[in-house]
């Protein structure tokens, strides 16, 4: 088992605040790794640094063994690293099918081709079927509930056939029924060989789903291990309860 994503000594300052402080961890291929920690511990910033949405002050990020010198979201997505956002982000004025097809990675010469070809549409409908959204396929994404938008966002990142998916709070603000759908989807996709990193506040879900669990506090890794071990780690309890 090799590390698909390696982060070494990652640091990011916002003015005087060190949001991520020499953070190092590795994500082993085929795992569902959780990134947890109290609010403000730097989880989303780590995501942003890894995916190139913000630039690290120092540190190294390696994807599948090769170092990313200047992480760029477009290139990373095309190399198989996809992410979702904390607030569900979709293209509101596009239909669900268009949302998915827009996320299909196209070669350059395809830009003049028809926006949604028959095979694109078939592929999008398959995915919508898996996520239980197929009956809304031709509605605009703005018509969806928040939870459905989360599902749609999850589905869009899968259109690009990623190897590694970073999910930023996939179940925040989602009703329990949809949480179950999301959990099943993650398990199913992992069985097909995908690797996941989750930032998640729903610790019940984390304990059920993830292994290993990485705990961040003040931008640095506090603990790492199987969920049961992390749960009883006194440093983790201190960080969460502020004792």
């Amino acid at each position: 088992m090799s590390a698909l994503l390696e982060v070494d000594g990652l640091t990011k300052r916002f003015g005087g605040v060190v949001a991520v402080d020499r953070c190092s961890f590795a994500v082993i291929e085929g795992t569902i790794t959780a990134l947890v920690g109290p609010n403000g511990s730097g989880k989303t910033t780590v995501f942003n640094l890894v995916t190139g949405y913000s630039v690290a002050d120092s540190g190294v990020v390696c994807l599948a063994g090769s170092r990313l010198r200047r992480p760029n979201p477009v290139q990373l997505a095309r190399r198989g690293l996809a992410r979702t956002f904390q607030q569900a982000r979709v293209f509101p004025q596009l239909t669900l099918v268009e949302n998915l097809v827009a996320s299909l990675q196209q070669p350059w010469y395809a830009i003049a081709r028809r926006a949604v070809s028959r095979s694109d549409r078939a592929r999008a409908l398959d995915l919508l079927e898996e996520f239980g959204l197929v009956q809304l396929a031709d509605d605009r994404a703005s018509d969806l509930s928040y939870g459905q938008k989360k599902l749609l966002e999850f589905a869009t990142v899968l259109m690009g056939d990623p190897r590694l998916v970073l999910l930023d709070e996939p179940t925040a603000g989602v009703n329990p029924l949809l949480v179950e759908t999301i959990e099943q989807r993650i398990r199913g996709l992992r069985a097909r060989g995908l690797t996941f990193v989750l930032v998640e506040h729903n610790l019940n879900l984390v304990m059920r789903l993830c292994d290993p669990v990485i705990v961040l506090d003040h931008g640095t890794k506090l603990a790492e291990g199987p969920p049961a071990d992390v749960q009883t780690d006194s440093r983790v309890l201190d960080a969460y309860l502020g004792a």
Partner: protein, 338 residues
Amino acid sequence: MRRLNAVGAARGAAFVSALAAFPFVVHAAWIVNIGVITLMYAGLATAWNLFSGYSGYISLGQAAFFGLGAYSLGILFQHMSAGTGYRPFEVLPLIGLGVALVSLPVAWIALRTRAMTFAIVTLTLLFIVQQLAFNLHGITHGSTGLELPTPRFSVANYDRPFYLAMLAVVTLALLLCWHVRGSKLGLMLFAIREDEDKARGVGVRVTGAKLVAWALSVGLTAMIGGVWAYYLTFIYPESSVDPLVMIGAILMTFLGGKGTLWGPVVGAFVLVPAQQYLLTRFGANQFYLIAYAAVFMVVLLMLPRGIIPSLRDVSQRMGGHGRPRHDVAVEAGPGAPA
């Protein structure tokens, strides 16, 4: 992003044929002249919409490329004979292509900014090109202006070739827009307009898509500038790089419906004749500008999203056709946040 349907194609063909027939039916030069100006703005607005309307990047600098097109044609025919008078029309595609290529490196830099910053950066382009036109005396003759060859078209129908040339560029612009809207490029642009960061995250090549749309828009704008310069046969920096021309085209796009196919054309066909009418009605005093602004404000207050989207809403409400709407709240199940 609709595919070509028979009704849409017939509507487009009928519209273009009616416009093409117009100068053969109406011979009054002043009316054909209004037609030329209307088509010019329809073309500029459609070209502006192709980039700014579809990608959401508001460019205030397209007048720079209108001016570059005008000056390119003007300078070219300082050294070339216009032949029977049609040669300047024949070189228009080359002018469009040339100006589009020259604009790409500039766009590549400008497109590193977004939203208001992008609007301001593009606005400066306009003043840079105007300053160049003033100061590159050797080729532009500075503020003295540049004279183009006067074609030997028949006096009775002098405006007609210009009218048809403008119509050809407008038709090209509409065909390009129609194609872009239904293609992967259109989907990429709409994704950028909706949420560019999300688009990057799913691997949409945002910079490339913006540059292609920019080049198409700039090329069309330059071609229109070329026809305009030849029509006037005399250009100088203030008139050929005129912010008011650009603002006019942008207002028409907003009026007709930004991001739609026909909106910019509809906007131009409403506003330009209205403007020309008010100009003749109220004459040389500047009152016509106030009346023009009033017309614009009334329409924006009543149809804030533009004419085409508002009409579409009305027809959907009346006819009940359009997208089927599901009751999302029910399907989301209990407990889902709104």
